[in-house]
């Protein structure tokens, strides 16, 4: 019979839970890229289509979570972090899922063939990019924990370590990107020019995946820096 108790109503829904749920979806979404890529390499476009659908579905769910968070962040809420930082963070996170979907879209749409020489390096490269996204997820999980302490001094230590690891992963992805580009440059003459253009595009986008994951880290740093 008591519909709204003033006391329990005082505690708003924490925005950190949906934020975490979102990055979990996003990293699942990125995780699907690996089997998709393997299917694409073996030319099994039926299987690839299945993974592409899973990714689209996950991206859609992440979108839903993003919208929910944005709508449920009213002005009357008192938060320990800046509202704009939160909104910024969720949109950075969201772009990761979008990029994962875009990559599969182009690869599937063009039934893209990856030259055998590039297959192994590109798989490694993609693995690094996905690992970067995973690392961003770990950083957010840690944030959830750190919130309990009211962002004490330890926060900066923990965040520093996590973000350094994130940065290293991104750096590794950059190096791999440069190596792959160089290899592709040497193969260029033998391949159809249009295919090459799109290969460069895919390489670039995979790089953006890890770039954006790293940006999640730097947004987190801003969030906890206050």
């Amino acid at each position: 019979m008591v519909s709204t108790n003033p006391f329990s109503a005082l505690f708003g829904r924490s925005p950190f839970q949906p934020l975490l749920a979102h990055i979990v979806k996003t990293s699942e979404c990125a995780g699907q890229l690996l089997p998709f890529f393997d299917a694409a390499l073996s030319g099994d476009w039926e299987a690839a289509r299945g993974y592409r659908e899973a990714i689209t579905q996950l991206e859609h769910e992440a979108d839903e979570l993003k919208t929910q968070l944005r709508l449920n962040l009213p002005n009357t809420m008192f938060l320990p972090v800046s509202r704009s930082d939160l909104l910024e963070l969720i949109s950075v996170q969201d772009k990761i899922a979008n990029k994962a979907r875009d990559i599969t879209g182009i690869m599937l749409g063009r039934n893209m063939n990856i030259p055998d020489l590039l297959a192994e390096p590109m798989r490694d490269y993609l693995r690094t990019a996905v690992a970067t996204v995973d690392q961003a997820r770990k950083a957010l999980e840690e944030l959830e924990d750190l919130l309990e302490s009211g962002f004490g001094r330890n926060v900066s230590d923990v965040m520093q370590t996590l973000i350094r690891e994130l940065h290293e992963l991104e750096h590794q992805a950059d190096d791999q990107q440069i190596a792959i580009r160089r290899q592709l440059f040497q193969l260029e003459a033998e391949l159809p020019p249009v295919d090459v253009i799109f290969l460069y595009k895919i390489i670039e986008w995979i790089g953006e995946l890890s770039d954006r994951a790293e940006r999640v880290g730097s947004r987190l740093q801003i969030l906890t820096a206050r």
């Binding site: 006391f7 109503a9 708003g12 302490s149």
Partner: protein, 422 residues
């Protein structure tokens, strides 16, 4: 004079019934707010909360509730105006009890955040204005009470902020938070025991027949604090370091389990504080009626309050809690999912301290509002994930509505009794 003599027993029975009704309302609704933080932080279960509440609400009402009762009984209206017609005071107090009880019931049904203290103070002021004239009210006393509704959340808020910051600095910022928690939490437990027993000993126990000097109280309170600190240490020793997480050096979940132990003590303190302050809302008017009837009409006589009056009030709270309050505790407790023991501890202890301090000085304050102030304090220390500030508006609104509502109902009942008994 003859009216009192004629209907004396009826008045006392009515007063007991209404007082019990009011106390039931307090137990059914208000206690839930007091216990909500403890249950919400999952430090104690709902069942444990009820057991703690039953024991400590009663103890608080009985041991430390006397001072506030005095204020409700004598502080608000000028009794000397009633020398000629003592029955007016009886009607008024009966009406106030019934009005406040009914208003609490209505508000609970509608889910409005009203305060029991506001209801009863509004009711007493209401009947005094209607029945005895504006001059009969001690307006400066009412002013002090009204001011305390602003200051008590403020004090609790500041205290909660300081407390949570101290936890941050001492424990969470420590390179090994678990060890730091084990080291410092007993200190906080000592603080709980010390504050509660100090205020009780200094201000509360005189009506139980125990007179202690300040030095003796200090000594006893320290001893009590040490005893419960020992008890806390025993409980604490059963907690071990949990599975280390990936980023293991900051193992906050084990730290929170230590705070869970602390939370048990603050929950007791909160129940005690609530009992000491809010039982008076029901018992004060009841005691006033009894004193008028017993002294055969002499108003303002300093007859001692019978001990069973506080017992009746405490009993009413317990019955309210057991029959209905557990449902509200469940609602409130499960609603607060974002609360961890460390945050809950800072909020509850500061609210409890503010309330016991107010009880010591005889000020009737609103427990709910004090708790809200304390929670905001922890929030300002960046300890809360999210607070809904819109609720503050509804609380202020309920504050504005409750006073006139209590007053109007009380005026209505006052004229009803006047018509019934002449």
């Amino acid at each position: 004079m003859s009216i009192i003599a004629q209907y004396g027993d009826v008045f006392i029975i009515l007063a007991c019934v209404f007082g019990f009704f009011m106390a039931w309302g307090v137990g059914a609704n208000d206690v839930a707010n007091a216990m909500g933080t403890s249950v919400g932080s999952k430090a104690i279960t709902i069942r444990q909360a009820i057991v703690i509440a039953v024991i400590f609400e009663f103890l608080g009402a009985w041991l430390a509730g006397g001072q506030v009762t005095e204020t409700i009984r004598k502080g608000i209206i000028d009794a000397s105006l009633l020398q000629q017609e003592p029955q007016m005071l009886v009607y008024g107090m009966l009406a106030s009890l019934l009005a406040a009880g009914s208003w609490l019931m209505i508000a609970s049904l509608k889910g409005w955040p009203v305060s029991t203290t506001h209801s009863i103070v509004g009711a007493i002021v209401g009947f005094a204005i209607a029945g005895l004239g504006v001059d009969s009210v001690h307006w400066n006393a009412v002013g002090t009470i009204a001011l305390s509704w602003v200051t008590s959340p403020l004090i609790a808020g500041v205290f909660a902020y300081v407390l949570f910051r101290s936890v941050q600095v001492l424990i969470f910022d420590n390179p090994d938070p678990f060890a730091a928690a084990k080291r410092y939490v007993p200190g906080y437990i000592f603080l709980v025991g010390f504050i509660v027993s100090m205020v009780t000993l200094v201000k509360g126990l005189s009506h139980v027949g125990l007179e202690l000097s300040f030095g003796e109280s200090l000594l006893l309170a320290t001893a009590f604090g040490v005893v419960i600190m020992m008890f806390g240490l025993l409980l604490e020793n059963r907690i071990n370091r949990g599975e280390r997480r990936s980023r293991g050096q900051y193992d906050f979940s084990s730290v929170e389990r230590i705070f869970g132990v602390l939370m048990m003590f603050t929950a007791c303190a909160m129940a005690f504080a609530h009992g000491s302050n809010d039982v008076a809302n029901a018992v004060g008017p009841l005691a006033a009626v009894i004193s008028v009837v017993e002294s055969a009409g002499s108003v303002g006589g300093s007859s001692a309050m019978p001990w069973w009056v506080l017992v009746l009030g405490g009993g009413g709270i317990v019955v309210g809690l057991v029959t209905y309050g557990h449902k509200v505790i469940a609602t409130v407790g499960t609603g607060i999912t974002e609360l961890t023991p460390s945050r809950g501890f800072a909020a509850t202890l500061s609210a409890a301290s503010t309330v016991v301090l107010a009880s010591g000085t005889g000020l009737p304050i609103s427990t709910t509002h004090t708790l809200v102030g304390a929670v905001l304090g922890v929030g300002l220390a960046r300890g809360m994930a999210a607070l809904n500030l819109r609720v503050l508006g509804s609380i202020v609104l309920s504050w504005l509505i409750t006073l006139p509502a209590g007053a109007l109902l009380s005026i209505m009942f006052f004229f009803m009794f006047k018509g019934m008994f002449g």
